[in-house]
């Protein structure tokens, strides 16, 4: 006998309880009373649905990790680019006008 066969036989003994015979009709009647979300993009709800879906984050943890990585990389690059070299500071002295004593 197959090793899995006894487990399969036991699983096969598990018969579901049948749904009440009017289940489908009850669902159909309940749905008829339910409000329906319009599909059109130009209806207010449809537009809002589309607009909101643009901002939905499908994987929040991944998005957060990506934001952190971009933030750290951006911050590190800004910190290095803000260091003014000697040549740059000489150039700045020429460009920036010393206004002391004008007023």
């Amino acid at each position: 006998m197959n090793e899995q066969q006894d487990i399969d036989d036991i699983l096969a003994r598990r018969a579901p309880v049948a749904a009440r015979p009017d289940l489908a009709e009850r669902i159909i009647h309940a749905a008829a009373r339910a409000p329906r979300q319009p599909l059109g993009l130009f209806s207010p709800q449809g537009f809002m649905h589309e607009a909101l879906s643009c901002f939905l984050i499908p994987r929040p943890a991944l998005s957060l990790a990506a934001c952190l990585l971009i933030g750290v990389t951006g911050g590190w690059m800004t910190a290095t680019s803000q260091t003014v070299s000697y040549d740059e500071s000489e150039m700045l002295n020429l460009v920036v006008i010393n206004e002391e004593g004008w007023l």
Partner: protein, 196 residues
Amino acid sequence: MEDTDEGLMKRVQKGDHQAFSLLVRRHSERFYALSWRLLGNEAEAEDVVQDAFIKLWAQPALFRVDAGVRFTTWFYRVVSNMATDRLRGRKRWASPEAMDILPDPGKGADQALAERQTQALIEKAIHALPERQKLALTLCFYEGLSVREAGAVMEAGEKAVESLLMRAKAGLREELAKSGLVAPQEVRHERTARYR
């Protein structure tokens, strides 16, 4: 006129209630069975199926007809997610003795009672499985889905589903062995090794 599920869904998206009724009549029992196997309770299973179909009617755009996904695959996912949410919302699993398992009326009282107790043990063992294992088992064993189809429903690879199935059956064996319904794994291995 297209009477495939996907064709009916196109009509549902245009507001055709007749098409919706056809879909419900065609699939309500199938999805009720899935829901019942996940929840083990008749009333809750019916609620989940009803809520899922009402959601389908209220927000038909959730199903993308042009995405190439079969309606049943997508709806299996909807129903199983809703059933899982309901399971998580429960404080604790209902006692298996209290579940709606009907004995076979053709059997005698003692036999029916024994059968009922066995069914309760099976239910308890199945519902003790982790959610994903239980879902994989339900989809592949009871719903007859292939491993690939179950993977599409569960958004998992075929290998992952196979692994879930193997672990589910091993878990069931372990649990059922405690009540003597099956031989424990170790003993069986020894027995098969002896005959090699």
